[in-house]
């Protein structure tokens, strides 16, 4: 059943806001938000496009989930508490079940964090979804990419490369074994590390989320911080499930250059290691030290080492608009 834009917004995207600071939500020319005293507003925006960030034919629930999760991941990287968001959805036609599925996935990602959808725009067009997310952080206590210091220990949360391996199982139409399903879930339902980010605010010197690949994102962190880094290949946490299905070399490549993990990289001064370890609670996401921050080298590119020898990775990650694009 085809419907008008305003019915769609009213039916699928309008819910009473749960946060007290939302004074006016979906339905007017703009939303109005009260700003809590002593807090800073943290704002990010991420876009996903069919054929680039997700395969054509991806379930609408997975698309809705993804566009929120990748934005939550930016809040995690800043140490912010996510609070509200606006959505721009360009979609080819108003298929009611598609829209309902998209909204379901979107709220599935947002609800655990009590993130309210307070406005946005729905238009007819190619399948492109953008979320702008905002959160609160205690005054002057946010994380950045630019705070890494010489000698900092570099950590990564979770198991990088599982999302890329999951995408490969879909593209290669591998059988639906438990390992393949685990990896696909990691690709389709990335878990933003919001609690980890909140805890790291007073401990980490720098943080960033991994969306384009561990090496390329670490390159960016180093460039922003004016330093370089040394990564020990043998310290990388590799996925048990990926190792079941792919060669060890492929798993290392996924871990170093695979996108879409939405894990965090962060750096700690060695003096705070004990404090950090004490902070890791039961059931917390695993964090693994994979290298150290080093003095800047020309180009600031991260160096990889394996068994005491320099290691040259086949690729470093994904760059939109790069002269030659590795596939995502």
């Amino acid at each position: 059943m085809s419907q008008g834009e305003f019915d769609i917004i009213a039916r699928y995207f309008t819910r009473p806001p749960r946060r007290r600071e939302i004074l006016l939500s979906v339905g007017d020319d703009a939303a109005v938000v009260a700003t809590p005293a002593g807090k800073r507003l943290v704002v990010a925006m991420d876009t996903i496009v069919e054929g680039i960030h997700f395969l054509a034919g991806t379930a609408p629930e997975d698309i809705g989930y993804r566009v929120v999760a990748v934005n939550l991941s930016d809040m995690a990287a800043m140490g912010a508490e996510p609070a509200w968001m606006t959505l721009s959805l360009s979609a080819p036609a108003a298929d009611e079940s598609w829209i309902a599925g998209f909204a379901r996935g979107m709220f599935e990602a947002a609800d655990p964090y009590q993130v309210d959808l307070i406005g946005g725009d729905t238009v007819k067009g190619p399948l492109v979804a953008t979320v702008q997310i905002a959160g609160w952080v205690e005054q002057d206590r946010w994380l950045t990419r630019s705070g890494a210091q010489m000698g900092d220990l570099i950590f990564v949360s979770g198991v990088p490369g599982e999302a890329a391996a999951g995408l490969a199982t879909i593209q290669q139409k591998l059988p639906s074994t438990p390992a393949a399903l685990h990896l696909q879930r990691r690709f389709l339902r990335p878990e933003p590390r919001v609690q980890r980010g909140r805890k790291l605010r007073s401990t980490a010197n720098s943080a960033m989320d991994v969306s384009d690949g561990l090496l390329t994102d670490l390159d960016k962190l180093c460039a922003a911080s004016g330093c370089s880094a040394r990564v020990e290949i043998d310290a990388l946490p590799l996925s048990m499930q990926a190792l079941e299905l792919f060669s060890r070399d492929a798993c290392v490549d996924y871990a170093l250059a695979g996108g879409d993990d939405y894990e965090m990289i962060f750096t700690l001064p060695p003096a705070r290691l004990v404090e950090f370890q004490g902070m890791l609670g039961e059931g917390a996401v695993r964090c693994t030290q994979i290298g150290v921050i080093t003095p800047p080298v020309p180009g600031n590119a991260v160096e990889c080492w394996r068994a005491g020898q320099p290691f040259i990775p086949g690729r470093r990650g994904y760059d939109h608009f790069a002269p030659r694009d590795p596939s995502p």
Copy 2:
């Protein structure tokens, strides 16, 4: 020359912020904003898509200008002072001159209001641009669609229909007469009514910007306010330039149902008319009373009258996802 995403962002979209409240701008996982005491945050988001909101082949300057202007128009409708924005740009390829033109148009629209670009996302994909804009409004003094009262006078700013007439001159390839160029400029470079909105905060009962057509947008204002409206066709300000090129009936149709004007409709109680007229400064945008707010009728649809008789317009405006779409 093809370039990486990060070079593009650094070169064209990174400028030192001008507002003191911007604590961290483009370049990290998110931006950080201080929130002035006593102000509310007003947030809107609008998306424009090639082939829907602008013609294929439109100059990048005009596209960049438009995506900012339509968002500024939402700030105007709320009576807010626009302050900062984030941009999502999906574009097929990183043609440097195209990106430079887009950025130029964007800042041309933003700079008069000192609106800082503080973040966003650039991805490869179909041509879709989204801006999320935010502004400040004095505590609890914003305008809404839902405040219209029975007996309010309905005003429109400027000359509605000129943008639609301008689009028609482009589509019909009319000669570039001064009249045609005037109308095309109104289509390509809509002027957000920000100052008008700021002044109306304490005078108007309700306000909204006109993006999809005067009647369809007035329908929405009435639905939000629980009332209806009577519009006098002969009171509509018609464009001198459009009347040079099109029939009177066509000009009435453009004024009632043409989109893309980004003028404001607002309603005033009759008791505030003198105050309102005193507020109109020299050189202010013309505002014209076109009707009155009436008790609700089933469906809340706005009624049109001409010479004492009901007038049935041929169309009311544009609805994305409507079963039958009139062309924009």
